[in-house]
Structures are given as structure tokens and as C-alpha cells.
Amino acid sequence: MTRKRKLRLNAVSPGTEAVIHVILAAFSLCCIIPFIFVLIIAFSSEESIRAIGYSFTPLSWSTEAFRYAFDKLPQIWRSYFNSILITVVGTVLSTLMCAMYSYVLYRPDFRFRKFFNFFSFFTMIFGGGLVPTYIVCTQLLGLQENYPALIVPLLVNPFNIIVMRAFFKSSVPLELIEAATIDGSGEYNTLFRIVAPIAKPGVATIALLNALAFWNEWYLSLLYIKRNKVLQPLQALLMELQNNVQYLNQMAGQLGAAAIAEAAKMPSQSLRMVLVVLIVVPIACAYPFFQRYIVAGLAVGSVKG
């Protein structure tokens, strides 16, 4: 009884909350409808798509595209495995590296703080461009036709470093670090045992952003995975299909009869949507895992703990 009253103590009035619900629900609906649309196409029959195009109300339904994807395309399973492997390894490494670097930038007593801050920030604006980066990756670092080629080029994102530093700044008091140092805690210990747990929402957010970046990545595969296509992640497989279709559309005038013959080889339109579904579902399922930490302190009106 008292707890319930306390819960409402600093909450908005029920009327206001109702308005909030309406706004949030409306926007959420906007966000989910296109995905439902994709689902509907994935289950639409090919005849229906041919006759009336993409539609919320197809003429007939079919699970053919799903069955085809699972039975006939062994690469889908391999690509699934690749995507998961790359995302897990990449997220752990990149979040770790980001946390360490941001922690150093956050320490006001670090002598080269300003230098390292600018060192990472500058790369957000200036880059050498595609070809020089490609050359460094392939010729100097040997990032070609292997898993590291899909992970290493994405490991650092200066944007995340800056955001992470901001999270540290706003949630971790400096006194805490000083106290830990006086207690004889090493820097690594302080970061992983004291700072990171306090800044958990921030770390989880960055981890989520990293996971998304790795999961959505396809361009690295286009550049670095050419002979050994078993390493292709799922998103690259999908983009390859979409790019093929788009290219044939654009080149139809130049390729003539070849474009028609080639277009006939492309997977059906519902199969393309099946791939979209296969890509979205796992990452959407992984989302609540990160969310646990991000939303942990939500509804501050209720008492913590």
C-alpha cells in the first residue's frame, strides 16, 4: 500500500500519462508497420506480387519463399553463423577498446588527454578515402578473405568514444576514482570494477550501437570478401541480391536481352523479403538483452532499489 503510493508520488498525472501513451504508441506503430509489411510480402505468393505488386492484402499467401530459403540455400545458415560470430567478437572487442580509450580521455589528470582527444576526433572529419584505406587493409594488414577483414575495419568509431566519455563524465564522480587509487586499486581494476558498473547504461548503449554496426555491415564484405564467399555475413548476402536487382534495372537498356535472361535468375521478390526478416529477427531478439541495462533505471519516479 505505502509502496504503491510512493510509486505514484512523483509520477505525472494519469491524464498526462495517457497522452504520453498515445504519442508513444502512435510512433511505435509507425515504426513497426513497415516491418509487418515486409513480413506480409515474405508470405505473399509470387503470383500475387506479379499481379498487384507489393501489397498489405495479397491475393494469396505462400510459405514457398521461406521453405526455399531454408532448404535450398545452405549459404544462409553459414551467413547466419558468420554474422553472429562477427557481431559477438566485434562487439566485445570494440566496446572494450572504446571503454579503455574513453576512460583515458575522461581522466583529467592524464597528461596527453588533449592530444588523444583530438587524435580520435580529427579522424571523424578527415579520412584518406576508400582506396587508400583499402590498400592499407589489404596490403599492409592482410585483411582480405578472412574474418578479421570483417571485424577490424569497424572496431573504432570516434563518435562512440566521445559519447562514452560523456557518459563517464556525467555518471562517474571523479572523487570515486581518487578514492579507489588511494585504496591501491590499479587503473584497469578501477575501470572494470568501479567505473564500468556505474556507467552500465552508457556501456550497454555503446555495446548496442556496436552490435548494430557489425550486424548491419555489408560493405566490408563487398570489398574484402571476393574469392572466399562462404565468409559472407547475412546482410551482405541480402545486399548482394538487392544490388543485383537494382543494377539490372539500371542497365536494362545497355544489356538488352541479357538483362531479361539475368533478371529471370534473380531470386523471387518474396525471397528478398524473407532475407530481410531473417536479418531483423535475431538482432531484435538480442535487443532486450542490452535494454536490460539501458532501461534499468527507468521510471525514476519510482524509488531506486
Binding site: 515486409v38 580509450y101 584518406g128 592499407v136 599492409l140 550497454a204 521510471a299
Partner: protein, 322 residues
Amino acid sequence: MEKKQVHSRRLGSSWLERNKKTLVLLSMAAPVAIWLLLLRYLPMGGIVLAFKDYKVNPRNPSFISNLIHSKWVGLKNFAFLFKTNDAWIMFRNTICYNVVFIVLGVIIPVALAIMMNEVTKKYVAKTYQTLMFFPYFLSWVVVSYFLNAFLDAQYGMLPAAQRAAGEAVTSWYTTKGPWPFIIVFANLWKNVGYTTVLYLAAITGIDATLYEAAAIDGATKWEQVRYVTLPHLRTIISILFIMNVGKIFNADFGLFYNVPMQNGALFSVTQVIDTYVYRAFMVTGDISLSSAAGLLQNVLGFICILGANTIVKKIDEDSSLF
């Protein structure tokens, strides 16, 4: 200021010990620093490409030898950007859309994050948040299919409804009027979930006792937002603002290329620097041209970012980026 304090406090310790701490911190920065050095700074030598007519030296076809071997052409590679009077349209579009994205991209996600924070049932808030992230998973190509299901002249739902009502059918992909709104909406729709998470994480980091204290002092909810939440979000808002200003000359290629279905009739409201450069590249196949365009975007962005940083610094020293 703080730096001095810490130093003075540690004055008693030996030089070696202080040096050790710096070394340990350096070791923490090392992985990222090495990465940046190799994958970002080393390739920067390639910026020269923007001023060269890149040709291969068949006697020694390595990139560096090619680069040295290629003719210096000064600013010629930049000329294609300013060739026609239409050039200003793509610069105008790029900048105007970005300004709108920056402004709405702060207001809407912050508002949503605050609202979400006020939802008493946690699982409902979590559901909203999960749903809002969905657009981020869908590529622009898929989004363009979705939009096309509404607007397609032959099969689209809106033209079908117009036909059913006996009205004249709008040819959406050749009518400019609605497109600025469609573009802005599509961009927000796709990115709001992403930014909201950032703000939400920042809000979550705020000490709950601050709100309680404010509530006990009789502050209304609105006042709590005004005096507790927003000041705490100041840093992250400024950071995102400054960083977005730095990208004001860059546009999201997929949004401007795929969503309007590449229709030329809409160019006056959809052509941006990135789509222009892409079309030029597809015809000329010249990497020097894209390098030049990229460099120009970066230099202009850098100038803007310095400006934005200075402004933020004047308002609030702590929130500036450097």
C-alpha cells in the same frame, strides 16, 4: 583546473610513480590509438589523390608509385561540383535538410526519451523502445519498397484510393511538393529510435534523489524536466549537435537516392552532394573526382565544427568537444 588539483595532491609521490600511471593509461589508449594510426592516419596520404589525375604506372603498379607518377592537376578535380548553376541547388538541399535534421533530431528524441521515462509501467516503456528501433534495421532499399506500396502510380494504395474516390490521381514520384516532408519524416522515422536510446541512457544516469528533492520542494513535473533533466542532457545534446554540424555537407546517400526512386523530376528537392558525386562517378569512373568531393565536404565540415564548438564553448565550457 581539476588537473592542477589532482597534481598538487599527488605532489608528494615520486616522479616514477606518476610516470607509471601515465604509462598504464597510455597502455589503455594504445589499442585504439594504434588502430587510428593504421586505419585512419596512414591512409590520409591519399588525400593527395584529390589534386591528381590518377593513372597507373604500368612499370611499377603500386599505389604509391602510381600516385607519384600521376599528373598534378591542382583544383581541376573540384570543378565538376561547380560546373552548372544547378550546383547551388544540391548544396542548398544538403545544408537545408541537415539543418532540419539537426533541429528535429534533438527535439523529438529528447521529448520521446523524457516521455518514455515518465511511463510508470517499465515493460510498456521497453516495448515502445524496442519497436522504435525497428526502422533502424531496415535498409533504405526496403524502405523505398514500403513507401512505393503507398505511392506507386499503378498499384499504390493512395492512387488506388484516389481512383476509387473518382479524384485525379497524383503522380507522386514526379510531384515535388510533398517530398521535402517525406524525406524529413523518413529520416526521423529511421534515426529517432537510435538517438532516443542515447538520451535515455543519459537520463537513466541521473541520480533519482535529485528528482525526489525537487518534488519535495514542490517542483512540478515540468519544472523537474526543465531544471533537472535538461541540464543533465546538455552535454550529450551539445556533443551530438557539434558532431552533426560537422556532417552538414554530407547526406545519407541511401535516403536521397533510393527513397525517391531516383526520379529525375524530383531532383530540385532530392539532389544532394553525395548523389551528384555518385552519378558523376558512375559515368567517369574517376576516383580522383570522388576524392576531391569528399575532401571538400570534410574541409567545409571541419570549419563548421570549429564554429559550432566555439559557440558551445561560449555558452557552456564543459559541453564543448575540445
